[in-house]
């Protein structure tokens, strides 16, 4: 196990650094940020599977029921010859969010325990580049809009998948708030 760090005497406690010219926040120090991220990554990985296994939405017209998972949307678009769009959704709503969680798990584990740091430095670079392309929160909003759009056509039920997906989204949001990348980079050290 890893020991919990103590912050009571840490002069950096909750300090923020901002660019004096353009005002961009450069670094914000959060107590136990990396540790919290580890917990959030594990929670996110657990939620990932039900979020993708259970249907996101189901609807009913005159006794005919239809339900769909996130991957169901990818398959439906692929079958209609919209393969590129299907791939885009597969990447941005499923694969990239999963990959980012797995990368962070490896990176934080090696930052604390010291093994595989060379690999982790490569992975953390990929992590930063993928930031823009994981679009969980946008997919979630899209699902909500779809519910409202379909509401007058048929009865629509929100599935277990969407609740788990919402949880996954919250995890990702909290990770982005708590992760201080400078700190992680410092923990990973350098090769000389």
């Amino acid at each position: 196990m890893v020991e919990m760090p103590v912050f009571d005497h840490d002069p950096e406690y909750r300090k923020q650094a901002a660019c004096p010219r353009c005002g961009c926040v450069l670094e914000s120090h959060r107590p136990a940020g990396v540790m919290r991220c580890l917990a959030l990554v594990v929670t996110g990985l657990i939620l990932f599977f039900p979020a993708n296994y259970y249907p996101v939405l189901s609807m009913d017209i005159l006794g005919n029921q239809q339900q769909s998972t996130i991957f169901g949307g990818v398959v439906a678009l692929y079958q209609e010859d919209y393969g590129v769009i299907a791939l885009l959704i597969l990447l941005s709503a499923i694969l990239i969010p999963l990959l980012r969680l797995l990368i962070l798990l490896q990176v934080i584990a090696s930052a604390f325990r010291g093994w595989g740091r060379r690999l982790s430095r490569k992975l953390l670079r990929i992590y930063a580049h993928l930031q823009e392309w994981g679009m969980l929160e946008i997919y979630f909003l899209g699902a909500l809009v779809a519910v409202i759009k379909l509401a007058d056509m048929a009865s629509v039920q929100v599935g277990t998948g969407l609740y788990c997906f919402a949880g996954l989204m919250v995890c990702e949001l909290l990770i982005s708030l708590n992760l201080n990348e400078h700190e992680v980079w410092n923990m990973l050290g350098e090769t000389k």
Binding site: L57, M59, I85, S92, R121, R125
Partner: protein
């Protein structure tokens, strides 16, 4: 820290003056001699490579694709074998007729307004760099807004994927995707890419050059 030298018309305010480069991947400070970041191994340069030409090319391509994205149908809703192709705008109008004004506004903002403002915003930033930025502070904020807001245009693509998978009831109603979805997805990707290849530090460089000229 270096004290500002009163006799110097161009004070030291850029890393290049001090021989420091910033690694954009891991934010380590590197020296002039480093061509690769000693920590994470990515290429380090004073400014992003070919930033302006890349950004112009991507923005212009996206601007052209914005036209078919809005004119072609993005999805078709069929009921009892009668299909009604919808463009992005007619979908928004449909939502207004159904009395769902807030949702209509959301879709309008995400699918029409944001891509358009992003294209105009990127063009404006590029013009500012070419002719000398007068207010780099404001333009840097605009840049950050463009980067942040860009991804939200994917909303419509996700809605389509959900509807296409869910509404498959044969005669009672089906939803199929339309050709505009290619163009629209391309606009979103290209503008995101354009924003990433732009280097906001160029705005500050130009102002400094202007100041030192006068």
């Amino acid at each position: 820290m270096t004290e500002p030298d009163s006799g110097n018309p161009a004070p030291v305010n850029s890393g290049a003056d001090l021989g420091i480069k910033l690694c954009l991947d891991c934010h380590r400070l590197c020296t002039v001699e480093d061509s690769k970041c000693p920590r994470c191994g990515s290429h380090v340069r004073f400014r992003k490579k070919d930033s302006l030409s890349r950004c112009w090319a991507l923005t212009l391509t996206a601007a052209f694709l914005y036209i078919p994205a809005n004119l072609l149908p993005i999805m078709t809703v069929s009921r009892f074998d009668r299909g009604r192709p919808d463009t992005i705008m007619s979908g928004v109008i449909e939502l207004i007729h159904q009395g769902m004004l807030p949702i209509a506004l959301l879709v309008f903002t995400a699918s029409i307004l944001v891509p358009l403002l992003k294209l105009l915003g990127m063009t404006w930033l590029l013009i500012c760099v070419h002719f000398g930025a007068m207010r780099p502070n404001r333009q840097t904020s605009l840049y950050r807004l463009i980067v942040w807001i860009g991804r939200w245009s994917m909303l419509d693509i996700f809605i389509i994927s959900i509807l296409v998978a869910l509404v498959q009831f044969g005669q009672l109603g089906t939803v199929t995707a339309g050709p505009a979805s290619f163009a629209f997805a391309a606009v979103v990707i290209l503008t995101m890419w354009a924003a990433m290849s732009f280097d906001p530090r160029l705005l500050w460089d130009r102002r400094r050059e202007k100041k030192s000229e006068t």
